[in-house]
């Protein structure tokens, strides 16, 4: 993977990287990709299994016994880096 590839990947990953980091990741990520490419040789002949597991199924529960409204609101809002009244404050979007 080249430098442009790493920059593209960082962009998709929402990560601001320094030039030093980009150089480092270029080397290390390329090494790891080379390693995981060993999967290519895994025999396709045995690929009779579908993706995921056949046993997988949705587990649903009744929407009942809600907790009392508001008992977590303050804790959750307090976790935000910036808050105004009962809102999480962010930079303007439009």
């Amino acid at each position: 993977m080249d430098k442009i590839g790493i920059k593209k990947l960082a962009e998709l990953s929402r990560l601001k990287l320094s030039e030093t980091e980009i150089d480092e990741y270029q080397e290390k990520i390329s090494d790891i990709l080379k390693y995981i490419d060993s999967l290519k040789e895994a025999t396709a002949g045995k690929m009779d299994l579908v993706m995921g597991n056949l046993e997988n199924r949705n587990v649903l529960r009744e929407d009942q016994n809600p907790h009392e409204g508001g008992i977590y609101s303050d804790d959750l809002l307090a976790a935000s880096p910036d808050r105004k009244d009962n809102f999480v404050k962010v930079k303007k979007i439009l």
């Binding site: 990947l9 998709l12 990560l15 990741y25 790891i32 390693y35 999967l39 976790a79 935000s80």
Partner: protein, 473 residues
């Protein structure tokens, strides 16, 4: 005079119930041990200020004859298992001051018994690592040789138990993060069946692999803790209820060993010690059977596709908006970039990018889908083998504890630490690491672990044979 250093959960229970000592005396002993040892070892990120009042509350229950298995037992939790009102940082700068808004199911079950929670244990950032060198708060040193790592990612939990800074601990295991540090520190570590312990309130790393489990001094203690924290939970839709299997009728005679798989890249002394342990099993009447798990060679590659894919998705929530630290940018979106770039550590960023890559258009089939297929083949391999043998034995790690800095510059080398542990996560199987001898390096005696793997939901087999192994090793 009782020697607190020799206590286990089981013997401490006896001592507390028979009033040989109080919960406060016990808690104070551990506080003293932590004060003495933690400045060097760095197993604890925080020791709670209310430890003695927790102990007093437990003592009241004992005095009223209402004690349960963990009442008054001093424990430490990994820094990613949430308790409402306490800080959990997951070893990351991005959550440095994060106060948990709710309590994890596993912790709640322990709190319900009025165990004494001493504090939170150091870990690799968001559980990504095998040495705790990726913690934003410094490495946890190995109590057996402080020049070496404690392993990871639950290195703080394992070191806390090994340095006698807690009677037992909870960790989390995604690819070996309970068993590997347990092995390196000379304690017992259990990775339970996937889903047997609720993940509700465990900070997610790779959701199809993560599981909470105990780190203890003995197999019997691991069993006690596991019984308390396990069980189906409506708040975790992947949790399962354990089938009730009668221990009396459990018979274990055949232990399978994938000899071919073990020969690659393993320390000679570790392999020799492992073979010697197999001989001990034979002498104790077990049959050792050579088995073949044909797709095991791919397990590490499969793991390093699926795990980062899930990581990249789970880490998306750390954007500096609703919680955690924020570094403002010019506008909203550049704030995401600067926050994540600044506060996330190098290994976390690497895995996010790797995961983003294997999931991106054009590569998802080649990597992600194929990895899932091979994961299913690996699971099938295990199922077939368990028709012939009762348990599988492997070393826990390919080498004893390595030196701080020895592998941190080479991620692939670090990833190979998990070569023997990853397959149990991919197949969702329960596995335990038990202290099984030692090797000498630079005049230091370094512990190594034996790993036993059982069919899904058959933890009882691990406990039964594990306890027997402790008497023959």
């Amino acid at each position: 005079m009782i020697n607190f250093a020799d206590l286990t959960i089981a013997s401490a229970r006896e001592g507390l119930d028979q009033k040989k000592f109080t919960t406060s005396e016990l808690a104070q002993y551990y506080l003293n041990q932590i004060a003495e040892k933690n400045p060097e070892i760095n197993a604890y990120l925080e020791v709670y200020e209310d430890v003695l009042s927790q102990a007093e509350a437990a003592q009241k229950l004992i005095d009223q004859n209402k004690a349960k298995a963990l009442t008054g037992i001093p424990l430490v939790l990994k820094d990613n298992i949430m308790i409402r009102g306490r800080i959990n940082s997951a070893g990351s700068k991005i959550l440095e001051k994060y106060i948990c808004p709710y309590t994890s199911t596993a912790a709640q079950k322990i709190l319900d018994q009025q165990a004494v929670i001493l504090g939170r244990a150091n870990m690799d950032e968001f559980a990504m690592g095998s040495s705790t060198e990726n913690s934003a708060y410094g490495v946890t040193k190995n109590p057996r040789d402080p020049k070496r790592v404690s392993g990871g990612s639950s290195g703080g939990s394992a070191a806390a138990v090994a340095m006698n800074g807690a009677l037992a601990a909870l960790g989390s295991d995604t690819g070996g993060s309970i068993r590997q540090p347990a092995s390196l520190c000379g304690v017992v570590g259990l990775k339970p069946t996937y889903g047997s312990v609720s993940r509700h309130g465990l900070m997610a790393m790779a959701s199809s692999l993560d599981v909470i489990g105990p780190i203890t001094k003995t197999v019997a203690d691991a069993e006690i803790l596991f019984k308390v924290i396990s069980g189906q939970d409506s708040l975790d839709s992947t949790s399962v209820s354990l089938e009730k299997k009668n221990l009396e009728t459990l018979s274990v005679k055949k232990i399978g060993v994938p000899q071919n798989f073990l020969q690659k890249g393993i320390d000679e002394d570790v392999l020799q010690e492992f073979q010697a342990n197999l001989t001990k099993f034979k002498k104790a009447g077990y049959e050792i059977v050579e088995i073949d798990l044909p797709n095991l060679d791919y397990s590490l590659a499969v793991y390093y596709i699926l795990m980062p894919a899930e990581v990249s998705s789970n880490m998306a929530r750390y954007d500096g908006i609703k919680f955690g630290s924020r570094l403002e940018g010019e506008d909203l979106i550049s704030g995401y970039f600067s926050t994540r770039g600044h506060f996330l550590g190098s290994e976390v960023k690497r895995r996010i990018m790797l995961g983003t890559y294997v999931l991106s258009a054009g590569y998802a089939d080649q990597y992600y889908k194929k990895a899932w297929q091979i994961r299913n083949l690996i699971k099938n391999d295990f199922e077939k083998v368990f028709e012939k043998v009762d348990l599988i034995a492997m070393p826990t790690t390919p080498s004893p504890a390595f030196k701080i800095g020895e592998k941190s510059k080479d991620p692939l080398k670090m990833y190979l630490e998990d070569i023997f542990t990853i397959s149990a996560n991919l197949a969702g199987l329960p596995a335990i690491s038990i202290p099984a001898g030692s090797v000498i390096r630079e005049e230091k005696t370094l512990p190594i672990g034996l790993q036993l793997i059982a069919p899904a939901q058959e933890e009882q087999k691990l406990f039964k044979i594990g306890k027997e192994f402790e008497t023959i090793v």
